[in-house]
Symmetry: D2
C-alpha cells in the first residue's frame, strides 16, 4: 500500500527536506511539489541533493488530490489556505505554527491573530514522544516547532517522574543553527555577518514559549542564541527541583520516559569525545539526544537536549506524525542514523 | 541472501563510515568490528551516530570468518596482515593505499617499499566508473583514494573522447576537508589552527599522483589545499586541449562517459546557487558531481569535480566495489541522496 | 621611559598574544620569551603573525632580569617557579589560576592543593573594572580568568546597584571558543570533532565558579559549552531580581558601573544586526560588551556579556593590569578596536 | 601635520575597514563618512567594532572639503560622481574598479563601458610593490583589486627575474572569503548556502584578469572559488618556466623583489604548522605572504600568495597608496601584525 503525498511550499528548507524524506520513504509517492516562483523548474535547481529527481515544481493554485498534503509555507499562509488543502487531501500535516496552539486567545497574544480560529480545536499538535496517542487517524496535524521540541524532550521526564510540577523557574538556554531562519536570507544571515556568531536572537519572548507552556505545562524562561552551524538546535535547561533529587532518580526518570522511544537516545557522561547530547551527533537524523548532569553545589539539574532542527525539529517530525496518523511503522523513512565525523552540520 | 562482513580498524573515520553503511545495507551483516585500543567498548562510544548499535569492538588478533573483510587500517598495516585477512575472508576490500599500485617499483618510488610485492598483481584497483569490468569475482580489492577519485572522475571523459591523450600538462588543484587527515589529530589539525584555513598541505608530490598516472595515464601537476570543511574533496582541473574543443564537444564527452553511471551527476552552469560541482551538494552521499567550463580567452577547459571523501572517496567506494564483486545491485546501501542545506559538510 | 618585559611560556596561545601586545606597546621592550621545547627557534615559527619579530625563544632556566615578567605557563607551574620569577622581576603578572584565589582551602577544594599557599595573600587578583584600586604598585598579579571575567562583568552592575545581593540563584550559561583549550590539542579539539559543535564541556563544577564566588560574592550556577569559534567567550546570565526592576533601573545600574570604563561598551537593543553583545564585535580587541533584556513574563533579567578570551580574558587583561600597576596609561597598547566583518573570530 | 579625510560609501565592508584604519592613523582625521540609507545614524550601528566612534553618517550629496577622499562605492558609481569628488578633495583614492584600467576599450571589453573615459589616463593604479614610484603626488588613485593583488604579488618576482616573459600559460587558482561579495547579501551568500563551501564562483572570465594582464603583462588562466572564511584571498599559481629553474633561483628571485618590502613576507617551507602562505597568517593585517615550491616531476613552480582581501586587498592598500601619495611614512596606520590563533578570519 502506498500513499500519494504532496508538498506545498517546496522551495524552502523544510520543503526540500520533506521531499528528500518522502522520496526515500517506502510508503509514500510524491505526486506534487509546489512553488509559485519556481513553477516548472526542476526540484534539483533549488535543492542540489535532489538533482536525481524528475519531479518539477508546479503552481500552488493547481493542487492535486492526495492522501497526505504537507504544508511547508511560512507562518500565516496555512491558515488562509487550509480549506483548499483539506479539499484535496484527506490528511493535512502543517509544519508552520498556524495550528499549534489550541485557542484564539493564544494566537492573539503570541502572533497576530488567527484567520480560522474555529479550526484550532480540530488540529492535533504532534510531538510523538509527548502525545503519540492523539495522532492515529488525525486529519489536521500541526507538527511541533524545533525549539519547543528540544525543550519539551529535555524536560518531559521531570514531569513524568513528578520532579517538576509546573510552577518552577526553569531557564531554557537554546543555541540554534542558521537554517532556522529559512531560505530567504537578509543582512543578519549573510555569511560574513552570521559566521562564527554567538548572537542573542531571541533574548526573551520567543513564540515557542507558548508551545512549551501549552504542552509541557510550564512557563519557561527562554532565551535563544544563533551559533555557527547550519542545522541543529541544542537546549540547555537549568532546573532547581524541590526537594532535591539524586542522579539515580534522574536516570530512572529519563529511562522511564524514553527507553521505548525509537528516536530518543539518552547520553549522560561516559568516556570519549561525545559525553552529552550535541547537534553533531544527531545531524541529518530524526534522533534526539537527551542527557543531564547534577550540580551538587546548588542542587541544580542541567538538562541537555539536541536535535537536527530540519529533521526532528520539522520535516522528520512531520513524517513521524504522518506515519502514526496513517498506521505506518513509525520508523519508516526515518532510519538514517547520522554521520561521523560531520562538520558544522 | 546475506553476506557476513567485518571491519578491521573500526575506530577510524573510514571504519566508522563503513560500519554505518554496512548496518544500513540490505545484503550485509556486520559480525565484527575490531580495535586494539577500544576492544570491548561499544561502537557508539567512538562513533556517536552509531549509539544504537549493539556490536562492540573486538581484538584484531581474533578475526572471525566472514564473506567480506573490509580493512580500514593505516597505510602499511594491510600489507603486513594480508595473509590473516585472506585466511578468514573470501573477499578482502582494502581501503588503504597498500594494494593500489601494480608494481613494487612504484611503491619504492612513492611509498617506503612493499612487504608483499608478489600480491600486487593479484589486487584489483577499484574505481567503478573507470574499471567496473574488473571487479566481479575479485578477491583482493584496493579501493581507490579520495583525491585520485576526484581527479580521475573529472578527467576521464576527456580521455574517453580523445580530447586528452596523456602527454598534456594538466593542473589538478585540490581542496580537501579535515577528515582526510584521519581521526588522530595533531597540532596542525587542532581546531584553532585548522579552522578557516586555505593551507597548502601537499604543494607537490602527493602520493595520489601515482594512482592518477597509473589509472588515467596522465602525469598531472597536483597540488592539495586544506580548507574549512570536515568532509569533501573538490578537484579543479585546468586543461589546454589541442586542438581546441567546443562546449558541445565537452557535453558530448561527459554525457558519453557518465550518462549511465548511477553515482555521477553532471552539473555545469544553469541558474540558482549551485551551478557547478561542490562538496556540499554531495555531502553524506556516494554521488560525485562533475562539470566544466570553457575559457575562450586561453582555450582552457576548467573541470570541476566534487565528492564526499568519506563516501565516494573511501567507505562508499569500498561498498560499491564489494557490491559489484559479489554481484549485488551496485546501488545497494548507497542510495542516500545528500542533504540541503548542509553546513561545512 | 620604557620597561623591560619577558614572557615565560611563549609558545602557547596566551604567550603569543602577549608577545604581540608587548611588541606593539609604547612602554614595553620585550627582552625574552622562553620555551623549553622551542629554544633557539624564531617566535614566528610558532606564531605566524610574528614572523617579523627577530627575538628567538630562549630556555626558561635562563631568565633575564626584567621590570615585568608575564607567566603564561600552564596551571601549576607558576606556583612552583614563583621564586625564580620574583628574583628576576620586580613585578610578576601570572596568567594562570595559580594565584587567583586567596586561601589554601579554596585551592584544596577546586584544584589539587597549592605549593606556596603563604604567597596567596600577597597576590592581587586583577580584573580592573572590579578592583582597579588594588593594582597600582602590585608586585604579584593574578590576571583574572576568561569565563570569570565574562560573568563578573555581566553581573557586577547588579551588585553595585543592589539589585543582586548574593543569595540569589543565577544561571550563567557560557559559550566559548576553541582557544580556551590551549595550543595542545587532543581528540576532542581536532577539527573534525570540534568544528560545528555545541558541546557541553563543563556542565557543572567549572573552576571559574570559585573566582566568581570569591570576587563577585555570588555562588552561580555555571555551565559552559564549546561552540564553533576560535576566540571568544559569551556569558548569558539569567537573573530573577527581588523585587522586580524596570528597564530604566537596569540602564541606570549599567551606566553607573561602566560609563567611565575605557574597555566596556553597553549594547542593549537598537537596530541593525548587532543588537546585543557578541564575541564577533569584540574579537581581537580588549573590549567587553555588556547588555541586558528584561523578560516581563517571568520577571527575569537576561544579561549578555562578550569578550575575546585571548584579550580581555587573558593577555589583554594582563597588559591592562600591568599598565595600572606601573602607572602607565591604562589604554596603552590596547587600543585596537576590533574588526568588521570578522568570521569565526 | 594632519590630513582631513572622508569616506564616501561608509556602510560597506571596505568603507568600514577604511574608517577603522583612518581612525587609528596618526596622520589622518576623519571628518566625514557618507551613507544615503543610514544618514544621521552612528557608524557603530553598522560596524559594531566602531561603536566608540562619535562620527555619524552624513548624506553623500553634502560632501565636505577634505585633503583626501576615499571612494568605497560600488563599481560604476565613482565614474559618475568623480567630478564632485575631485571638487572637494585634492586627492581621491577610489577603491572600486572604475579607474583601474587605462583605456576605454578595456572597459568596453570587461565592464559595461565607462562614463568618463578621458580621465582614465589621469588615474594611477596603486599596488605599491608593483609601481610605488608612480604614486607620490598622485591626485586620482585607483587602488588595486584583491584577487589581482594576490596574483600579481605571487608572480611579479618571476618577471623581475626574467623567469616568466609573458607568453606562458599560467594557471591562477584563487580561493576567496565571503566578504568579497560585499555587505549586501543574497541567496548564494546566506549562511546556510555559503558556509562550508568550495564553490566555483568565477570559473572563467573574472574581471581581475584584465588588471593582471595590464599590470603584470600576462594573460593568466584565472579561476576563483568561494571557500569558508570571511576575510582572505589565496592565489595558487601553477607555472612551467622554460628553461627550468632551481630552488635557489627562486629564492634569489623572490628575495630580490621583496626583501625591502615592508608588507611582504616570504614563507616557503620550514617546520611547524604554517609552512606556506595562508590567509590566517595575515588576517586583519596589511601583510601579504608569498611562497613557492618546485615540482621536480613536471618542472612546475607552484606559487602561493595570501592576503586579507579587506586590507592588502582593499582598505589597507588604499591607505598604503595614500601614505605614499602624500609623502607619509608608508607603514603609518598599517602596522597591525595579525593574530594567532584566529579562526575563519
Amino acid at each position: 500500500m502506498s500513499y500519494a503525498a504532496s508538498v506545498v511550499g517546496g522551495t524552502g528548507f523544510t520543503g526540500g527536506e520533506l521531499l528528500r524524506l518522502l522520496e526515500g520513504h517506502p510508503e509514500f509517492d510524491v505526486v506534487q511539489a509546489t512553488s509559485r516562483s519556481q513553477a516548472n523548474k526542476t526540484i534539483g535547481s533549488i535543492h542540489p541533493n535532489l538533482r536525481g529527481t524528475e519531479l518539477r515544481f508546479s503552481n500552488p493554485d493547481d493542487l492535486e488530490s492526495v492522501d497526505v498534503l504537507f504544508a511547508c509555507t511560512p507562518h500565516g499562509v496555512s491558515m488562509e489556505r487550509i480549506d483548499a488543502f483539506r479539499e484535496v487531501a484527506d490528511t493535512v500535516v502543517d509544519l508552520s505554527a498556524d495550528f499549534r496552539l489550541p485557542t484564539e486567545a493564544q494566537y492573539d497574544e503570541w502572533y497576530d491573530g488567527h484567520a480560522r480560529p474555529e479550526l484550532l480545536e480540530t488540529a492535533e499538535y504532534a510531538l510523538p514522544e509527548l502525545n503519540r496517542e492523539n495522532l492515529p487517524g488525525a486529519k489536521l496535524i500541526a507538527s511541533g516547532g524545533c525549539n519547543a521540541t528540544a525543550a519539551i524532550l529535555g524536560l518531559k521526564p521531570l514531569f513524568d517522574a513528578e520532579i517538576l510540577h509546573g510552577d518552577e523557574r526553569v531557564v531554557v538556554d537554546v543555541k540554534v543553527g542558521s537554517s532556522e531562519g529559512g531560505a530567504g536570507g537578509g543582512a543578519a544571515s549573510s555569511h560574513p555577518e552570521r559566521s562564527g556568531v554567538v548572537r542573542p536572537y531571541a533574548p526573551t519572548g520567543h513564540r515557542h514559549e507558548a508551545e512549551i507552556e501549552e504542552y509541557l505545562g510550564l512557563s519557561v524562561s527562554f532565551t535563544a542564541h544563533a551559533v555557527d552551524m547550519t542545522r541543529g538546535a541544542a537546549a540547555t535547561c537549568h532546573v532547581y527541583p524541590e526537594p532535591p533529587v539524586s542522579k539515580s532518580d534522574l536516570w530512572k526518570a529519563y529511562r522511564g520516559s524514553y527507553e521505548e522511544e525509537p528516536f530518543v537516545r539518552l547520553v549522560a557522561g561516559g568516556s570519549g569525545v561525545y559525553r552529552y547530547p550535541e547537534p553533531k551527533s544527531v545531524a541529518a537524523s530524526n534522533f534526539a539526544e537527551v542527557g543531564f548532569e547534577l550540580d551538587p553545589t546548588n542542587e541544580r539539574i542541567v538538562v541537555f537536549s539536541a536535535i537536527d532542527n530540519m529533521m526532528k525539529g520539522s520535516a522528520g517530525q512531520a513524517v513521524h506524525a504522518a506515519n502514526i496518523a496513517l498506521g505506518i511503522d513509525e520508523r519508516a523513512g526515518l532510519e538514517f542514523t547520522g554521520l561521523h565525523p560531520v562538520g558544522a552540520p
